[in-house]
Symmetry: C2
Subunit: 138 residues, 2 copies
Amino acid sequence: MFSIGELSRRTKVKVPTIRYYEEMGLLAEAERTSGNQRRYDKAGLERLSFIRHARDLGFSIEAILSLIELQDHPDRSCETATDIAVSQLSDVREKIKRLKLLEKELTRISKGCDGLGVSEDCYVLASLADHEHCENEH
Amino acid sequence: MFSIGELSRRTKVKVPTIRYYEEMGLLAEAERTSGNQRRYDKAGLERLSFIRHARDLGFSIEAILSLIELQDHPDRSCETATDIAVSQLSDVREKIKRLKLLEKELTRISKGCDGLGVSEDCYVLASLADHEHCENEH
DNA sequence: TCTTGAACCTCTAGTCACTAGAGATTGTAG
DNA sequence: CTACAATCTCTAGTGACTAGAGGTTCAAGA
Ligand SMILES: [Zn+2]
Ligand SMILES: [Zn+2]
Ligand SMILES: [Zn+2]
Ligand SMILES: [Zn+2]
């Protein structure tokens, strides 16, 4: 049994974040000492590691809630898990696509001005003022 | 002179968002009718288009505030504008880098399970439980 | 056993860029 | 003149935390 601080150190999840996850129902309510402090065991550590890893991969709290629900029922079909992973993947791909378009425009915009001129003639400002300068929709 | 609804239609920025931008100081306080409704002119339209375009490119409100400040002083050096654009570009590149790592892992994870099995044996859940399955840091 | 101070507790509020809704007032077409 | 869509202000909610106030508990050293 160890404290919330120790759990934090082991998982690299900040203490207030751990309490937040408990509030959100991601972590079961921890056992408490007689003085009302949280105590965790190996199961708590593993669950939080799972959450941490899923968050690092960009899954939402809501998605993680479903995944944990599933994890707690080993006999259920894992279809939902795959669905969630696939949908997360397509979200990520969408974001990459969008960011690549932005990268293109921002590269052009940045290159267009050396920062030595005056606001009035600035290519950055002109480009922002008029989307016609852009090569793509974004 | 046109109403906030008309401005909204022309810029594709929602009415409450326009009011929000005014509140944040991005838009000058609009003129008002005797009945207190906002009225805009060409200048207002252009400014909002600028804001919209910058937001589409991912600039923060704070960054846009600096850019607008600069735009209002045509004689100033445009160094800040380039700095902001360059920093935005590097933000975008960072994000792309990170998302590509996620894409890799998520592809592997998604492929590892067809959703036909049972939670206990699910590769998706196992991968989330243990970062050791991963090929990269993320 | 006592003391000190780091770690813990709860609660509220702030972040960013909006979005939603309530309840009241205004503008405008028929 | 009447309807009613559009506008107004104000408050609160979103997601995933983060910060801070003010109070309590734990554990190590004297
Ligand atoms: Zn410039
Ligand atoms: Zn553009
Ligand atoms: Zn599976
Ligand atoms: Zn991993």
